[in-house]
Subunit: 337 residues, 2 copies
């Protein structure tokens, strides 16, 4: 479309954006990317591999070319470099299973009721939304999202640093898949990680710790982060993708618990979606606030200034901001002393 | 996100694309754009106007900034030029009501079953999908989509031309809202338009003809385009956004009926989504094929070469291609002689 003069192109594109989601999901369901991983294919060849119709695969694959997931040369389709890395099931960085969590019916429903959420100022789902006690959504999360967290976990581990001679006591709050704590344990041979989460979720973290070969330095602390004693003292308390679910006073309660559990000189590392003060940049970071409006009663994408205040009120001496390019996430490092 | 190195950014963005759809729908539901039409507003002011919560409106409005529908200066939101024209209910070009059609539950369901459609090679909805006889979806379509069709209708009328002294007999097949035929009638004082569609849909076309002041040159031909006698002879037969619903043999049957109904020297004008032979450009045009896979048994976005063949086999002497910038649609003009 021309960019001259008024145009309803963005309206059309946005109101139909859900079709992109469905096309990607269908392609993952059909394992279309994995079948193309073996090499370029025509629609007819790909259809046989996917157990689908040639016509259906042709139209779907053309659409995937249009939205940037495939390349078409003549009538032959092939994977883009990103699709090769992230969407071929044979790739170690395969993320296709994350569709299971990212498109759970509860999440979809919360967005289909977004008008209601905007009126109310919080999720239209009953009760606490996705942050209700023991919501099975988090077991699904732990299983589905681990592959997508490997890159941010590596970047967070860079911030922690590694010293082969120094013991490092780490508490991973709301550990989920455990990938953040486990990555630190892999880098620091004398690190000991305690993973706190609901018991059913911790089963997934334990599997991942076993697989990473750090099980002998991995302890489980089952329960709600609000109710259990966090123990300690720890050198590092991880708050990864957790505080965004709550309002400011609740974040402060958690920051106080972190402060109490830290050893002198220790720090809390908050990995989250932390937009600029304008709350609209960077786009992929700032846009996360809408997920919190749709799915939680009072969650948000807090700015660094807001996190600074939370941790200062909880007694921390100072906080630092770290971007984690190329991810859409950031870290606040808050020092006890 | 960085564009260097492999990145799952496109995966994330696409799997969450449905959130853009829901945000836009929520904003239209709340009439947020109309309330901003009166001038820049803070979230708190806008919330009062929309009858929503300040927090909910702040998060939603920030998201609308991120996806390009609003501008934010400090903590004040205002409309973009396009939003002013198309999303303020007070604008004559308001298109917000089109969300009713574009997000009908049947359409959404057809896309949620896209994997099944790809396997089958056609809609997973029962029977004929949206092209079933007398499907009430088309009354909704006629009411909701008219505003979005005004620009293509003007461009199509340009192709027809206007000669104040010459009679012009027009058949508008599957007229729907009637906007295409009505626009030609407005431009040509001696034009007479016959609108063919199911009776319930024609009620909407008649309303629009009355409103445009062309009712005395407007006739209704109720029924199925496949079953009724098209009458004639006509100088122009309009096939707008119609052939894409069907397979090639069915398009050919309709082209034969058009040929029979045309006077010598007459032409059929097919306005549709007509991609380049690569079927992936222009993107907004080529992407329409997916809507046909999801919602119809055998519909498609046909290329010009395919339409040329259809009309040649139906007896037409020749066909011409016309792009309709800035819209995503194109026209094939097929001459009887």
């Amino acid at each position: 479309m021309s960019t001259q003069g008024p145009s309803p192109a963005l309206f059309f594109e946005t109101i139909s954006a859900y079709q992109r989601t469905e096309a990607l999901r269908a392609a993952v369901d059909l394992d279309l990317f994995t079948h193309l991983g073996a090499g370029p294919r025509t629609a007819a060849e790909l259809a046989v591999a996917c157990g689908a119709s040639s016509r259906g695969v042709r139209i779907l694959a053309d659409y995937l070319v249009i939205i940037g997931f495939l390349i078409k040369q003549g009538d032959v389709y092939e994977l883009t470099p990103d699709s090769k890395v992230f969407l071929d099931r044979k790739s170690p960085a395969y993320v296709g299973d994350a569709t299971r969590f990212l498109l759970l019916p509860d999440l979809r429903e919360s967005f289909s009721r977004l008008t209601e959420a905007a009126k109310k100022g919080g999720t239209a789902l009953s009760g606490e939304g996705t942050v209700s006690d023991d919501n099975p959504v988090w077991v699904e999360f732990a299983r589905a999202m681990a592959p997508l967290m490997r890159m941010p976990a590596q970047l967070l581990a860079n911030l922690v640093g590694s010293d082969p001679d120094r013991p490092l006591r780490v508490l991973d709050v709301a550990a989920g898949h455990g990938v953040f704590g486990i990555t630190i344990a892999e880098r620091n041979p004398r690190a000991h990680v305690t993973a706190l989460d609901w018991r059913n979720v911790l089963a997934v973290a334990q599997e991942n710790a076993d697989r990473a070969g750090v099980a002998d330095r991995y302890a489980l602390l089952p329960g709600s982060a609000f109710d259990v004693d966090w123990g300690g003292p720890y050198d590092v308390v991880l708050l990864t993708n957790f505080l965004h679910h709550f309002d400011v006073p609740t974040c402060e309660r958690l920051a106080v618990k972190a402060h109490e559990a830290l050893a002198p000189g220790g720090r809390a590392l908050t990995l989250d979606f932390i937009p600029e003060p304008d709350r609209v940049t960077p786009p992929a970071t700032a846009g996360f606030a809408l997920v919190m409006l749709a799915t939680t009663p009072r969650g948000d994408a807090y700015t660094f200034a807001e996190y600074q205040d939370v941790f200062a009120r909880a007694g921390f001496a100072r906080s630092e901001f770290h971007a984690l390019p190329p991810t859409a996430q950031q870290v606040v490092a808050s020092y006890k002393s």
